[in-house]
């Protein structure tokens, strides 16, 4: 039996990021879909019942937390530990490109060989990079929609997205991306946890992963 050693991988700040980001995405998707298509019958809305207002309120607050989480992750891209830094997992080095290809083959059940990474593998890292990039677009479009009279967000938002309606469309499409990402992410994490005894799921709670000792 192979020997494993315990390694500290995910810092407190990264775990805080994850556990702010994940629930906020869930809340944002549910409330966002409600705002897009209010499924309750709200013809009785009055001063005692504010279904839409409450949904928007929760959505905005979750959006604020989402934004903060993304900003924290952006900081860690450059100032985190070596597993959290952006060049550890982006396919910009030969080592990472090789890891990306082998991980793709491994996930497709085409090979059993793969390089174990303590941090993100290059495929996951690329997906996370892409997700954070879209998250930035999402929070900018969200702030543009929330503050349609704020000079800063109007100039930034209209430069990136165009009109309010175009920003709203992009915001809505990205909402579905995050729903899709959440599903795939959870599936792959569970799949990995079953295939490899590295403690992937528990690592996002306590920060430790298990690494096969070189013998």
């Amino acid at each position: 039996m192979a020997a494993y050693e315990k390694k500290y991988v995910w810092s407190v700040l990264l775990r805080l990021f994850h556990w702010t980001f994940a629930p906020s995405i869930f809340i944002l998707i549910v409330t966002g879909l409600y705002i897009h298509w209010p499924w309750t019958n709200t013809w009785l809305e009055g001063s005692h019942q504010f279904t839409m207002a409450v949904m928007r309120w929760i959505h905005f607050i979750a959006g604020m937390l989402f934004t903060c989480a993304v900003l924290a992750r952006l900081y860690l891209w450059f100032f985190g530990n070596k597993y959290e830094k952006v060049w550890d997992f982006l396919p910009i080095t030969g080592r990472n490109v090789k890891n990306l290809i082998s991980t793709l083959l491994y996930y497709a059940y085409l090979t059993d060989h793969h390089e174990e990474r303590l941090g993100h593998n290059a495929l996951a890292g690329t997906a996370y990079f892409f997700t954070i990039f879209l998250a930035v677009l999402q929070f900018i479009s969200g702030l543009y929609l929330l503050y349609p009279e704020n000079g800063f967000f109007v100039s930034l938002g209209s430069a990136l997205f165009g009109t309010q309606q175009e920003a709203r469309f992009i915001h809505y499409i990205l909402n579905w991306y995050f729903a899709w990402f959440a599903l795939v992410h959870i599936y792959i994490v569970v799949w990995n946890d079953i295939k490899n005894p590295e403690g992937l799921i528990s690592s996002i709670f306590d920060g430790y992963k298990f690494h096969k000792k070189e013998s």
Partner: protein, 359 residues
């Protein structure tokens, strides 16, 4: 619209177009489908006009004024052509004994609609309002005897109005406190919207009965919804954008008037929908909060008029946008603190070990 109508006072006749327009407005105000317009028009053009006796008690005649000085003269003339106004103190050509005779004659004929404007003082035998030597309560009781139905126009006639405000020195009450055995409909407001009065009359003429009412005797078609729920400034309330005082930036930008005392959240009326004077205005649209003038005892319960009313739940405490902004700023602060701690620990570690430690 012919501008000369504005200048020419109340015309004697109503144009066909004006007549149908007023009928359509009234039908819509009653919440009836468009198919009912011909029926309403038919009822309104019935040559057998209902006799109306219009009594004035403790009041300012503002209700009659607002009705007659509606900038759309067709409305006033329609009402005056619709009904046979057998007695109206302000409008009748007759005066003194002659006018009192007209009233007696109308009462003897019976089966009229009795419109009451103004409160009725009951204290000290009702001596605080006397017309032709008779107290208001005597005149009302006498006129109500043979009335088919009673319409109380204005908040005074409906609930006592300003003279019933604490301490109510004359013991003023509304019609329904005095007359118990007749169908009474209240069209409150200070003044009420002329359209609501017209619609109530047309409803009665079309269906030969009074419209369904709420617990305060007000026709549901006009007083069934809250001012707040149809207010054009409602989105500002939800977002938490308020005029903090009259003339400030928020006020000039047309934000919600709740904090300067708007009583829209507690007032039932169709003002935001039907508006006034045919020029699409109502108090809130011109920058003054609702005073709640259609509600019973509003002089006591809605004052001070320019202070906010208690216990109205604002979404998110301050409005959803304002509150989300506040929470967002706090979250940003916490994030900055977390990042600062992270960076501080990193720097401290590096200083302590004197080397680059990455793990």
């Amino acid at each position: 619209m012919n501008r000369s109508l504005f200048l020419g006072g109340i015309p004697k006749t109503v144009s066909r177009r004006g007549f149908l327009r007023a009928c359509a407005i009234a039908t819509a105000a009653m919440g009836l489908p468009m198919e009912m317009v011909p029926k309403v028009a038919q009822a309104a053009s019935d040559p057998k006009r209902p006799s109306v006796v219009w009594l004035h008690f403790q009041e300012c005649t503002g209700c009659s004024e607002s009705l007659l000085r509606a900038s759309h003269p067709d409305l006033a003339s329609l009402i005056l052509n619709l009904i046979s106004l057998d007695y109206h103190e302000t409008l009748s050509a007759a005066a003194g004994k002659q006018a009192e005779e007209n009233l007696e004659k109308a009462i003897e004929r019976g089966n009229y609609v009795l419109v009451v404007e103004g409160g009725i003082p009951l204290k000290d035998g009702g001596v605080y309002c006397k017309i032709g030597g008779k107290t208001a309560v005597e005149i009302l009781k006498r006129a109500a005897e043979k009335a088919a139905a009673i319409i109380a126009i204005g908040t005074c006639a409906a609930y006592g109005g300003v003279q019933a405000a604490k301490p109510n020195p004359t013991g003023a009450v509304g019609v329904s406190e005095v007359i118990k055995d007749k169908p009474i409909i209240n069209v409150p407001g200070c003044p009420p919207n002329p359209h609501n009065f017209l619609s109530t009359v047309l409803y009665y003429l079309t269906f030969k009965k009074l419209p369904p009412t709420d617990k305060f005797g007000r026709p549901l078609f006009a007083y069934g919804r809250k001012v707040h729920d149809h207010c054009e400034r409602r989105p500002h309330f939800d977002e938490g954008r308020f005029a903090e005082r009259f003339g400030d930036v928020g006020h000039r930008l047309g934000f919600c008037l709740y904090k300067v005392g708007c009583k829209g959240p507690e007032t039932y009326s169709n003002c935001p929908v039907i508006r006034f004077n045919d020029v699409e205005v109502w108090p809130v649209s011109v920058g003054n909060g609702c005073y709640g003038c259609t509600e019973p005892n509003f002089w006591d319960t809605m004052t001070p008029f320019h202070k906010r009313l208690p216990n109205v739940k604002i979404p998110g405490g301050k409005g959803i946008q304002a509150s989300a902004t506040e929470i967002g700023k706090a979250a940003l602060g916490v994030t900055a603190a977390a990042v600062a701690i992270h960076a501080g620990v990193g720097i401290a570690k590096r200083l302590a070990t004197g080397s680059k430690s990455e793990e």
